[in-house]
């Protein structure tokens, strides 16, 4: 299965455009930002692969690394009973990435959550609002430079 996925992706995106790694028999694929939509479309639409479910979208804040954030999509194929992780590195200067909510509907709220917690903007997302934090909140709590107990006074209490 892994070879099939990798071969199809290389065939579509070109050689040396993807990196991959394995951990405990799980495959992760590191994509370039501009290839994410193409790769996602291929994975979902290909009759053999059929990755028909997006299980989670999240991000990692590396704080001091050059490309500060990694965005991770967990996708699953019911046909092959196979889970795959798609990763994309993005830089703080340009915190935007194509939304996959048009490909996997379930990604919509996961992307909202990622936006809420990390401040990453998903281009052409239908409804990019905060999920957990109040709408008027100004910070992104899961970033490494956000203090554990929050910014005093940023969340109002009654009275």
């Amino acid at each position: 299965m892994k070879e099939i996925i990798l071969n199809k992706l290389i065939e579509k995106l070109g050689d040396s455009q993807i990196e991959f790694s394995e951990f405990r028999n799980d495959l992760s694929i590191l994509l370039k930002k501009e290839h994410l939509l193409d790769a996602a479309l291929l994975l979902r639409n290909d009759e053999e692969l059929k990755f028909d479910m997006c299980k989670d979208v999240t991000a990692i804040d590396w704080e001091k690394r050059k490309n500060r954030f990694t965005i991770i999509y967990h996708v699953y194929s019911f046909k092959n009973k196979f889970e795959l992780r798609l990763k994309v590195n993005i830089d703080e200067a340009d915190l935007a990435i194509a939304s996959l909510s048009g490909i996997w509907k379930s990604a919509e709220w996961y992307e909202r959550e990622t936006f809420d917690m990390y401040g990453i903007r998903f281009i052409s997302h239908p409804d990019l609002r905060r999920v957990y934090m109040p709408e008027e909140f100004e910070y992104y709590p899961l970033r490494k430079d956000f203090p554990l107990l929050g910014i005093p006074g940023s969340l109002p209490l009654p009275k």
């Binding site: 957990y132 934090m133 109040p134 709590p141 956000f146 203090p147 554990l148 107990l149 929050g150 910014i151 969340l155 109002p156 209490l157 009654p158 009275k159």
Partner: protein
């Protein structure tokens, strides 16, 4: 015990209005079960036949704040939820009391985090804090008894001009 004996003997008793009203109040404290998370399960257990909160006259859990005297805040209160809790509290008629049930409501508990209020006394006048994570039903009953103790020391005129500011004396 004392009351029945007195009534069967002479058919009347002498007391003060304050004592009578306080006795009536403390014997039917209707709780508003503000069950927000896991503490609510222990609060429900306190109402079951084994622990039986009705022994203390508090079995009437009112899901309307307008009919209740005691708010049992059972669970983690986030900053977002704090506004809801306060709003429900404000709808309860005076006199009213508050139990902060468990570590989360008392201090934030294990949720030392940006999203959780580190103690509901930041926005509510708490009368009794209950330790435990979650507290056992006995512990909640103990808190209820402490509330009754507190009520029995009140005077009717304490509540005349409303404005019961903060947690009063016990």
């Amino acid at each position: 015990m004392g009351l029945e004996a007195a009534l069967t003997k002479d058919g009347f008793i002498t007391t003060t209005i304050d004592a009578l009203i306080a006795w009536a109040r403390k014997s039917s404290v209707w709780p508003m079960p503000m069950g927000i998370s896991c503490c609510a399960i222990e609060m429900i257990a306190a109402a079951d036949p084994k622990y039986d909160i009705s022994r203390f006259g508090s079995e009437v859990m009112r899901f309307s704040p307008r009919q209740s005297d005691l708010m049992i805040v059972a669970g983690t209160v986030t900053y977002k939820m704090a506004h809801v809790v306060r709003r429900i509290y404000d709808q309860m008629p005076d006199p009213k009391w508050v139990i902060a049930m468990g570590a989360c409501t008392s201090t934030g508990g294990m949720y030392r985090s940006y999203s959780v209020v580190q103690g509901i006394d930041q926005f509510l006048p708490v009368d009794i804090y209950t330790a435990g994570c979650p507290p056992r039903p006995e512990n909640l009953l103990n808190a209820l008894m402490a509330i009754q103790e507190k009520i029995s020391k009140t005077k009717a005129r304490d509540f005349q001009n409303k404005a019961r500011s903060g947690a009063g004396k016990i």
